[in-house]
Symmetry: D2
Subunit: 415 residues, 4 copies
Amino acid sequence: MSDEQERQGLMARYRQVRATTEQLCAPLAPDDFQIQSIPQTSPPKWHLAHVSWFFENFVLPLFSNYRPYHPLFGHLFNSYYQSVGEPFPRPDRGLLSRPTVGEIYGYRRYVDEQMLALLTAVSNDRWPELQNRVVLGLNHEQQHQELLLMDIKHNLSISPLFPAYRDDLPQNGIAATEMGWQEQHGGLYEIGAAGGEFAFDNETPRHRVLVNDHRLADRFVTNGEYLAFIEDGGYRDARLWLADGWALINQRGWQQPLYWRQRDGEWREFTLAGIRSLNPAEPVCHLSYYEADAYACWAGKRLPREEELELALTQRPLSGNFVESDRLHPAPASSDGQWFGDLWAWTASSYGAYPGFRPLAGSLGEYNGKFMANQMVLKGGSCATPQQHCRASYRNFFYPDERWAFCGLRLAEDL
Amino acid sequence: MSDEQERQGLMARYRQVRATTEQLCAPLAPDDFQIQSIPQTSPPKWHLAHVSWFFENFVLPLFSNYRPYHPLFGHLFNSYYQSVGEPFPRPDRGLLSRPTVGEIYGYRRYVDEQMLALLTAVSNDRWPELQNRVVLGLNHEQQHQELLLMDIKHNLSISPLFPAYRDDLPQNGIAATEMGWQEQHGGLYEIGAAGGEFAFDNETPRHRVLVNDHRLADRFVTNGEYLAFIEDGGYRDARLWLADGWALINQRGWQQPLYWRQRDGEWREFTLAGIRSLNPAEPVCHLSYYEADAYACWAGKRLPREEELELALTQRPLSGNFVESDRLHPAPASSDGQWFGDLWAWTASSYGAYPGFRPLAGSLGEYNGKFMANQMVLKGGSCATPQQHCRASYRNFFYPDERWAFCGLRLAEDL
Amino acid sequence: MSDEQERQGLMARYRQVRATTEQLCAPLAPDDFQIQSIPQTSPPKWHLAHVSWFFENFVLPLFSNYRPYHPLFGHLFNSYYQSVGEPFPRPDRGLLSRPTVGEIYGYRRYVDEQMLALLTAVSNDRWPELQNRVVLGLNHEQQHQELLLMDIKHNLSISPLFPAYRDDLPQNGIAATEMGWQEQHGGLYEIGAAGGEFAFDNETPRHRVLVNDHRLADRFVTNGEYLAFIEDGGYRDARLWLADGWALINQRGWQQPLYWRQRDGEWREFTLAGIRSLNPAEPVCHLSYYEADAYACWAGKRLPREEELELALTQRPLSGNFVESDRLHPAPASSDGQWFGDLWAWTASSYGAYPGFRPLAGSLGEYNGKFMANQMVLKGGSCATPQQHCRASYRNFFYPDERWAFCGLRLAEDL
Amino acid sequence: MSDEQERQGLMARYRQVRATTEQLCAPLAPDDFQIQSIPQTSPPKWHLAHVSWFFENFVLPLFSNYRPYHPLFGHLFNSYYQSVGEPFPRPDRGLLSRPTVGEIYGYRRYVDEQMLALLTAVSNDRWPELQNRVVLGLNHEQQHQELLLMDIKHNLSISPLFPAYRDDLPQNGIAATEMGWQEQHGGLYEIGAAGGEFAFDNETPRHRVLVNDHRLADRFVTNGEYLAFIEDGGYRDARLWLADGWALINQRGWQQPLYWRQRDGEWREFTLAGIRSLNPAEPVCHLSYYEADAYACWAGKRLPREEELELALTQRPLSGNFVESDRLHPAPASSDGQWFGDLWAWTASSYGAYPGFRPLAGSLGEYNGKFMANQMVLKGGSCATPQQHCRASYRNFFYPDERWAFCGLRLAEDL
């Protein structure tokens, strides 16, 4: 591919990713842009600005005489990069009515103009470096596309009106397949990013791992199966729970997954399409690591390890219920099983450094490495993930008590 | 006045008060309607809805076959009336993006239509009762007009952009008058609402009080005077402070009034006109009871008692820097002194029941009486109070650590 | 009385008060000296040391070349006097195993020797000043005698073993008298310390107050009467409660007075004699101001005002169920009514400065004045108060949510 | 070994372990038995009772008609076994003055009599099962011997008197060795308990692991080396820290290891021998995982992985500065390096289940397995660990913010 084609390709991709972010916000009322329902979520308008700040801070000044759009935006829209200045306090993002949504769209326009001009004008010798940075920035923005959907869902869930983000989303059928099992022989395998395509630093280096004989369920645990756990007293039996999990569910009064609501004895679930009857065939979603682990214990199984799931994903095509399916909710498994997409699967692996891991140089080293404590790895992508953004080696990570990601529960077993 | 004139008069007043509320919101960006910067403030859109709910809940169903606008609005927009259902949690008001601002304006239109129809149609025998309720509802809405200004100011103060609510507000001059003193002989006096005009239940019954010889400062303490207290180490000298105040300022790191900011050694103050240089001639405002008391201690004086200030106000015309002056900030005292308006003066009197006090019957009994613990009385109205809403017997009340009201500091002394 | 007799008298009283403090600790196991069950209580060993520190800090160095017992005791045993150094953090007093109880008794011996030597040796011209200070120090120690009993009771209540502080305390009978009412004509009266005998600064100056016609119950509300309030749903009816009280009882799950326990449907009460069946004839004790106020509201009455109760006490002999009765629990009222002793009665008066109040000079000014915010006045002394320490003008004060004092509930009513 | 010899041997070991626990408490003042300085520590008297409860609950009733010593001790002295009843709240253990220390020693006597009678009387066919349980109970008590020393140290550290637990402990010399490195070829190795000797369930099953080429420091990082990190601004440079660690040290104001104190520019360290000058040759101890990790980052190294350290330990004799050395503080490394003892080394491995892990059956399954989340593995034993209790496969575990264990910092590096 010629250099010019590469430039045109990247510019097209830049435009596409940036436009997708705004399309995701199109169904929102002006009021919705402002909400931060818990410290972990961010107002949609903050996401719109932050992803632009990423280009403004990590790309534009490196290649041009860039003049920042506003002297305070670097403070307001820095997420967590301590080495580039003190970020505005995260839990207070929802308290900032100014800049307004309109002003933030103006900011986006400005950054877009500057970025596209830069992509046109940069010299060939600096092209590879620019390309790397831009690809990283676009992957970053895609992460925030998923965060936008996660956060919008949580933000809307606060209102007793149970408003729908979209009213044109399809309903899933209620037919469930039997849970099947995929066996895997033990041995030495390689995992991690193989190079060639984009990957985050935390997926590297590719390295050997020792895997034992095991088998993995070929689909997620369903709402119906999880309901049996609840009805069997799962939330009241301490023996099933990790100590931290038992303390947590008692302290917070958790008796069901995040978005389940009971009314007049009937279970309902809040979704991006509003509230609706619980579909027993759909995968159970929005549960914590502790709940996933307790269910596995109750079922006499365990959660998969990171490397087991990566191996299984490597053997399947990169397709499934991603955001492009425009369902925005997990779907019942088909007879082919359920691997990529639908939900991020909690693994039993804590998020740590691969042997020989080196973070990116400079401030971008703060992107992934400094979170390698107290979090668990999740694999496979979800119905809110851009397909292009996902791959077998992708390592998502959340704290074990966090439930607002599109996360689910897959069983594993030693052989 | 004929009955028909009374009706027309009340309808006109209804229209005027309701319109004023909306005019106060006119300068807001859509984003501003959503903010709740601290649990004590409410989003402007919530105020817009709550004052309508007051008519919907306490007026309309008593006189007509009223159909509520939405089955959940009674839950969402009930502030604290436990006896009419469980209110939506106060600290979470800012998390409700739905109903939207647009929907809330629709709600206001609906309530207005019903109210005006009722005012036209109600029978003469029920008119007095309706009139009482509507006047209460309008006074309630005027309280929320002041709360709107207080809350908007606090909400905007969070952004480091220091946005102005209005950019057409006048600047005050910097000339300060000498503080004079008004003497008052002790004796038995009457305070409380005398009847004839509207008053809240907590202003009744009118009763005798014993007052000692004393004198009151004829104006508020100024920024310049308060700055001398700060520069003298006032915030670092425990002996000047009530124990709870000392604990508080150390825990929260308070070293100045709420809206003062220091930059490069210069003091500035955030106002509804944005940030500007501290004007030494203006009354110091937005300080807690503890700060007011510590200043008085430092100055060798004390704060006035509720009855002392009421007596003084009774002897003056009900005029001053109220919201109609359209300054929205306290102004330096004139040579006539400073009594009504500008700022609510903290008194040394805790907010309690007058001898023989009876709350209103029914749910409206929750309006004032249940707050008679742990709060202090403030008197005189402020630059954010509608003049029509104020009077000498008015008892405002806040917790001693609250600073976001337009409150100020007047000195007193025994003779 | 000759100067020498005065000296001998004060030395005798010094010995008696100091000995009484230690007698109160005699029934304790070594383990009990160490406990601080809530931040408000202190370990008994801390009380033993603190009251000695009071003499060490506020008496001895003023009259002699006093050498402090230990360089750090001034830090460890300062309660809240900011002007004489930074006190050790109050909530951590129970974490100090050193100095040991034995070492603290050594400290007491040292201070006693120095004090008695000083009382012998001080010159006649400094005698009056010394006498004042010593009397204050002994009154201070008597306050801590009551605190010792309050704190020991709370500390022991934590153990499910419900240990008795003493097993030789008498049981009360179960006969209750009818509640009678004492009427009082309104008018101008004087309250406050009249001089002549010791009083704290907060009881001064004596001043006139305006009292309205009213009547006071001639005994406290009983357990039996309070049980009727509970059984009538008193703790579930928001309309009876101050807003702060309603929030509090729901947040803390309060459904009964502090030391009431229910087992198999039977009500029991923890006392300094251990746990025993609830005696319906005894006064209800250990309830918060909010509970007292809610009961009064339910009963259609109100709580007395400070001045009303002082007037009533002034008209009665200073006798009753004080600590010298050695019951350590309130007793059912006799046919003569119940005025001094048994329990401190919550009043409807917030604790503030009397007109013209001046705190003591110097650091002792921190004794009472700085607490004049957010607390309520209680009157009359309790079964844990030394009789000699009590008087009609005495103003005790606690926060409205505090229940561990021996406090009770007397009703009042306007005429 | 004959069955009778086995019985005599186990009885001797029972007596020895039980006596050792009490010897560790011999230097304590009565006051010291009661302290719980943070929720993680327990009062020494609670440890004394809890380890007896372990025999009372998990051994005696299984083999005899055992009558519990007191009906409530099962509640008071259950640590965290949800499946045998609700434990008394952990943070409140220090609030229980009753039962007294004396009563708890009586409890120990009772349990000892019953245990020794049982060990004599049990039938041969039930002997193996009893033996297993008793050995587990003795290992459990040895864990609490170390906890006693950890907790006593922390409890005493609260007092500004800096009391010594023992004043007869030796001082270390100040000569430090150069840090050497031990290389290890990568490959497949086996780790975990090999059977034959006692091990906890979490050390099983023995299994293969893949290890990469690496090297380990042959001694711990010293105080002197750590001081260089501090003086280089290590606590102020966010780039060195995990995000959770950075948030933590800023929230808690951590600027040095737990027991370091600075006075007049000189660094001192609190030890079980009281406060003394910081010895630069001693290993730095009582730091969190985050501090260990930040230091390693600053030094351009990393922390060892669990399996790397186990491999190294397997190759060394089980000897070192254990509790039997009676130093109770880590010592400078000798020229032979420093492997077992001195300090538990933080590893980079989160504490999780080994492949195929099965917890013990029944309630004892709560012993280790339920803590497999959010904690990190430490290896090697410390100066407070009984030598007999330690082994290469031992997995200790603490939360990454916990510092009161005798824990230290060893560096590792990839080759």
